[in-house]
């Protein structure tokens, strides 16, 4: 949908102001650092592949293999304790708080949940 100039500019200005906050800058740096580390990306990729395989098995009614389940829990623990991922996720929580305040302001002005309808 093509937005009118006024809305386009107001949305851009809000986005740029959010981008300039310390929370967003720190999150983007942390996300980049996690992406740049091959060990970290491989670990996350491995967890995702295993999760999808287990989810597909469950969806198709197959019994889940206990060894694979244990592997999944171990991998998940490794991902959680990876310092780059932990820092990225911690920063993301800060971003979410900031974004949620902005979304709440929009919702209170309009009386309609902006984030829910925009998804």
């Amino acid at each position: 949908m093509i937005l009118n100039d006024e809305i386009q500019q107001a949305a851009q200005k809000l986005g740029q102001t959010l981008h300039e906050t310390t929370d967003v800058k720190m999150y983007l740096q942390a996300a980049q650092a996690a992406r740049d580390d091959p060990e970290t990306t491989a670990l996350e990729e491995k967890l995702l592949v295993l999760y999808q395989r287990l989810a597909n098995q469950e969806r198709s009614g197959q019994a889940l293999d206990q060894t694979e389940l244990n592997e999944y829990y171990q991998l998940r623990e490794q991902v959680r304790s990876n310092p780059l991922i932990a820092l990225r996720d911690e920063q993301l929580q800060m971003v979410k708080l900031k974004f949620s305040d902005a979304g709440q302001m929009m919702t209170s002005v309009m009386g309609v949940d902006f984030s829910a309808l925009a998804l």
Partner: protein, 132 residues
Amino acid sequence: MVDIHLETELFPSVERSAENIGTLAGQLAKLLQQTDEFQELLRLARLVNLDPDVNRLIQQIRRRESAYGGNENGPTIEELQAELEALPAYQTYVKAENAARDLFQSVDQVISTSAGIDFAINARRQGCGCGG
């Protein structure tokens, strides 16, 4: 030793940033409120809320979905949903909601591109995670 000058400089700037985001979000919301899509959504939401058939079907669907209504005789949730979706008042409302959704999604895209990170999905209010 903390430089008192630095301290007073730092905190007002943090406050200004938060205040600024709130002001900009409020301004954007006011612009969205003035659009035809939003006004039409409000008008049709009011109408659909007054429609007795829509209300009856929504109540029946909710009762069916609740723990107590699952075993009742009568139409299934799918049948009730199909009946609801066939009502002209509901169809018109859904069309208006989709138009407003298109508008909001386009706005979200602009905010997200400028921010460098998805806005709406990260702006959703989060539950306590306690399963309640």
